[in-house]
Structure formats: structure tokens, C-alpha cells
Amino acid sequence: MKDFECIKCHKMFDFDKYYGVCPKCGVFNPKREGVGKFCEEIYRKYDDVPSPPKIIVVTTNNVVKKKNKTPLFVLCFCILAVLFMFGCVSISQRMMNKAANETITLEAGESISLKNRDYQILKAQEIIPAGLETFLREDEKMIGVYVKITSKAGSAEYSLENNLPYVKYGDDFYKQCLYSADVFPYIDNYGLTTEQVLDSYTGFYDSIEGYYIYLVDKDADVVTVTLERKEKHIGEEVITGVYQVILPIEERETDIHE
């Protein structure tokens, strides 16, 4: 007997036959007065069951969603961090580049103070002219740059490696000095003693002076002697300035001892 109207779809159905569940829409209808004994029992059981967790109904018109904001935050953080890293590297490189190109040009004999030493670059002298020796390339000559170094600390110095002067000649040719031990067998014939040649491993106490030896183009008549000023910056040494002295290469006329 259809004696009950569904609260949702309003279909009439037999309440006892379907135990309150609408055969059309499936909605369970709440208990009402005057239902049968069996239904009363079911209702009682249903009431004893703990209420199920709330189900959030998602519809296209009314979206109720609990959003997790972490992914968005992490992505934004990553993008910002990468931009920051690239920015830092770029700025740092630009600053170092600028510092390395900040050149202070000095006259011969002017004092250059680097760390605990004072350098005086005095003159550039031809030692072996081009074309005289077969051990030199046909287009090269050997020159010496006379440097006086004074230790301000007053203690023994065994290495000048970090502050070796290099020369520039011609059109952007740069040369590092030669090791004294390598040139000793050749310079002897040109009146230069081993004590007069400096290199990175020369040890000294208060002061020392002598020649740094370079090979340059035979046509070079001027060299730019350069010393870099380096300072510690975040754990590593970076160039903070460059000193240079432009020297004419004096031709070899007399014994180099004079």
C-alpha cells in the first residue's frame, strides 16, 4: 500500500515494504509516528550506529574544497631562490670584473703596497736580443724586469706566488715570468748571476731585488708590468684592483751588471 510520500522526490511508496527507503531516489526517509514494529527496530539500530563522517558534496556550481597551499608556496620559493642565486652570481661577477679592470697606473719606482710587501718596479731591460740564440724562437727576445721587494712584516718570505708580476706587450699578449731555474743555464753567458733572478720560490727576509725574466716579441719596445691586488672575499681571494707600470725596454748595450 502506497501510504508514504518520499521527502525528496515525493513519490508515493509502501513504507513497510521498502523499510523507508524510497524506491525511486533511494533516500532514507526519517521515522515517523505509527510505523510498524520491524521498522521501529531498524530505526533503533540505525540510531545506535555512530554518525558517519561528514561528506562534503562537490557540485559544479558550488565547489567546496579544502586547498593545500604548500605546493604553491614551494614553487614560489623555488623560483625566487633560483632568481636570487642567479642575481647574486651575476652581481658578484660584475663587481669582480669591475674591480679587476680598475687600473692604477704608476710611474717607474713608485711604491706598490700589497699585503705585507712593498714593490717597486724599476726598469725593463733586454737580456738576450732576438736572433742570437737558437733556443729562443726566431721572433722572441728575453727581457728582465727589475723589481725591488721589501717585506713589511720583517719575517721570512718563501713564496711570492700570489703576487707575481706579469707583462703585457703588443696587442693583448700577456706573459708570466719564467722560473729562474729554467733560465740559469742560458743567462750565465749574458752576465746575469743566479742571485739576480727572481721567481715565485725566492726566499728572502727584509728585502730583495732582481730581475723577473720574460720572453716577449722581438718588436716589443714597451711592456706594461702588472701586479694584482687580491683580498679575501667570502673565503676566497678575489682581485680588487690592478697596478700597472708602463716601461720602455732598454736595449742591451753594456754588461747587465752595470
Binding site: C78, A81, E236
Partner: protein, 168 residues
Amino acid sequence: MNEKQSNGVNNIAWIIFAVIFLFLAFECMLMFSDRTKIELLSAETEKIGDTYQGVKAQDGYEYYKVTSTLKNNGKEMLYAKNVHIAYKIKQELHGTDIYHSCEIFDESDNSTILAWDNSLMLPAWKTGKKVDIVQIPMDNQSPAEHYLNLELEMGEEVKFSQSISVKL
């Protein structure tokens, strides 16, 4: 696992993702900065002939002096001897490019020259020059133009390659 626990696991996963991503980005940045450490800007060639420092070139070869202009973008001085340039001759034959490797004159093999003179250097942040004496094959039969292709290498391994073509 309830909703809160599930969110917690998701957050940890995202944080791990962020750490890995930042690590990889940092590595890429280091690689990128290493790649641009040195640049090959230009090169010039000068014909020497079939003899250099008393040493005759192989048959069919001639010596060329190749002067390359390089920019050191790093914060440390580089010895030019550590900057390797591979020289290849490019010839176009029937529409196809053919490359032949060229031999660099090794002065340490020549006892008449001071083998220790490897003092050419590139100071940090400066543009400098490097000179190589290269033996280049001369194909007299072919009227095709010769092009010298330069590939810049760093250290012992080829970290990157940069090419500039120079017309001989």
C-alpha cells in the same frame, strides 16, 4: 591515514622536491658559469711556410701561425697552454662538409727551442691572445676554399666546444 596525515606527507614530498630542485638549479648554475669561463672571440691566421724553427712540415702540409683572441671570464688566471684549441680544416666537397684534424706544432719535441716557455697567460677578466703553430694540409688538387674550424676545449676533457671559422 586521515586527512591531516595525508597533507603532512604531501608537504614533506614538496619540501623534498624543493631541495632536489634547488640543488639541481645550483649545479646547473655552476655548469653555466663554468661554460662561460672562457670565450673564443676571434682568430687570425698567418702563413709561415713548410719550415718552422728548422723543422719541416709533413708532405702536403704547411705551417700556419694561428692567433686566437680569448676572453677569460673567470676570477683566476689561466695559462694559455691549458686552453686547448682543436683545429680542423673544413672542406666542402660535392655539397658535403668534410673535416680534417690539424696537428699543432709541439715545441717540446724540438730540442732547439726552450721547451719550458709556456708562459703565455690570460689574466682574470681580461681579453688576451694565444698563439699556436698548426700544420694544415694543403690540397693543391682542389680549388675549394679552405676554412679552419677552431674548437675550444678546457682542461683535459672537452667541457664545451666553441667554433669559429677562419678563412685561410
